[in-house]
Amino acid sequence: MSIKEIQDEIVDEFSMFDDWMQRYEYIIELGKSLPLIDEKYKTDDNIIKGCQSKVWVHAEQHDGNVVFTADSDAILTKGIIAILVRAFSNQSPKAILEANTDFIDAIGLKEHLSPTRANGLVSMIKGIKMYALAFQAKG
């Protein structure tokens, strides 16, 4: 599936919820199902800066695609990074760099995009794109 298709799928899932509580409960569920980063990659170098909670993201390349694993010490942040990993993992560096993040707005998490939010969603997206850029540069 393309990034766009996965994003549409996520938007579909979130459209089933009537209120913020259900949305947040789902984010918490997603957080619990996040493919966890190998403990050895939970280093200070892999911490995404700009988050009130700690977020670690690690990326590897498999068959040309970038595979992300991540973790956070806060469960909501973990849920949000899980959404991003689902949308962007296993895609080519080019596709990741070209993808937009409008779906965040569509799933009712727009408030998390504001630069004043301490959860650092913007920093996470930037981190993911930086990895993609690095792999693209490597060829």
Binding site: E25, Q52, S53, L76, T77, A118
Partner: protein, 404 residues
């Protein structure tokens, strides 16, 4: 007679809804809300007397200057300073501390010691680190105990004739501990050290008497005492302010300027270069008058009730740890719930209309002491109520249920 409902009616923001719920504002430690008289005074200044001060001969400039100086006198009286020129307008607590720390570069020598406490906000640590880097002085830290109280025996042991200045807060922003500053000041003076008190968290709750405390400097921010942002006060003893070099060069702070030499203006103007935050300065006086009308005795008594009630209600929650359990505390409760990140709780209760602060509260050394990433901090003001505490506690319980 203190009537909280009457008081609340004076704060337009408090009747708002947030995320569809009535706002419960418990982030007063970060900034206080503004009563209508403060909001009106800002509008009145710009509508009626806006002009630059201390310069013009025209009527508006005179009116604005008079209002600014009346505010200085109000603050002098409020702090019980000896002279109005001991009151310096700043942009806030941070600038006040930087001004003094910068000035002390002319006094402190290599090998001297500068003392702060384990309870300080970053803004009462970093400027002193700058000073130490510049001069080769050593930064010494007064340690605290598990209750979040300074260990006074250690403080006395650390003091020596090398100590040139001691900078401590009156009340800790992260834990709410009220420090025995009068005692700290007296001990420092015995070894000839000056003392700066960071009153940012204290001034919303009590009325400091700088002559009784005998502090050399006292700094605070306007926005935490129901005044505007971008204005604050540095009180300094006249002798100290005369001794310190100016902090910023520019207009207003000079007596005479030639390209060969400039002589500085007298106090307080020596430290007030450039066009200040005139509206902010004037309206800070309005805010102080407002608080004095309510009365700090009333405020202290009522906030103590809120603190006791809030602590009791929060302790109902399973797995809660409250940080800062000293005898003498302001209406601040810093806590965590076992197994849950403070950020998660803060986010969920925000959705329920409750505003608190989460994180390290710009006091990372305290978080490191307790080995935690941060806390949830509820800080109450005199316009908060027990009913709001109930809503808050229920919100935290709901968050706990969702997050465990």
């Amino acid at each position: 007679m203190f009537d909280v409902q009457k008081v609340r009616a004076q704060f337009p923001i408090l009747s708002q809804t947030v995320n569809g719920k009535p706002l419960v504002y418990f982030d007063n430690g970060a900034t206080a809300q503004k009563p209508q008289v403060v909001i009106d005074a800002i509008s009145k200044y710009y509508s009626e007397i806006n002009a630059n001060i201390h310069r013009g001969v025209h009527t508006l400039s005179q009116l604005a200057t008079d209002a600014y100086e009346v505010s200085r006198n109000t603050i002098q009286t409020h702090l019980n300073a000896k002279y109005p020129h001991e009151i310096i307008f700043t942009s806030g607590t941070t600038q006040g501390i930087n001004l003094v720390a910068n000035g002390f570069a002319a006094i402190v020598k290599s090998g001297d010691e500068v003392m702060v406490s384990a309870l300080e906000h970053h803004s009462n640590i970093v400027p002193w680190q700058f000073l130490c880097e510049k001069t080769g002085a050593k930064l010494v830290v007064i340690p605290m105990n598990d209750k979040g109280e300074l260990i006074l025996s250690e403080y006395e042991r650390l003091l020596s004739d090398k100590t040139k200045i001691v900078a401590v807060n009156h009340i800790s922003n992260a834990l709410g501990t009220v420090n025995p500053v009068k005692y700290i000041i007296a001990k420092a003076h015995k070894v000839g050290a000056a003392v700066l008190i960071d009153g940012a968290q204290a001034t919303p709750h009590l009325r400091p008497d700088v002559q009784d405390l005998d502090c050399d400097f006292y700094v605070f921010s306007g926005h935490k005492v129901c005044g505007p942002t971008g204005v604050g006060i540095l009180y300094g003893k006249e002798s100290w302010l005369n001794q310190l070099p100016p902090y910023m060069g520019g207009g207003e702070m000079i007596k005479e300027v030639t390209f060969e030499k400039t002589t500085y203006a007298d106090l307080p103007h020596k430290f007030e270069a450039g066009t200040p935050n005139i509206a902010g300065g004037i309206v800070l006086g309005t805010a102080i008058d407002y608080l004095n009308e309510i009365g700090f005795d009333n405020i202290a008594k009522y906030e103590q009730e809120l603190l006791d009630y809030g602590t009791k209600r929060l302790l109902e929650i399973e797995g809660i740890t409250i940080y800062g359990t000293g005898e003498n505390k302001a209406s601040v409760i810093s806590f965590n719930i076992e197994g849950i990140h403070p950020y998660d709780i803060g986010t969920i209760i925000d959705k329920l209309g409750v505003a608190v602060r989460t994180g390290h509260h710009c006091a990372q050394p305290i978080m490191n002491y307790f080995n935690i990433p941060g806390t949830i901090r509820a800080s109450f003001a005199f316009y908060n109520t027990k009913e709001e505490i109930d809503i808050f506690v229920e919100a935290v319980k709901k968050a706990q249920l969702m997050l465990s």
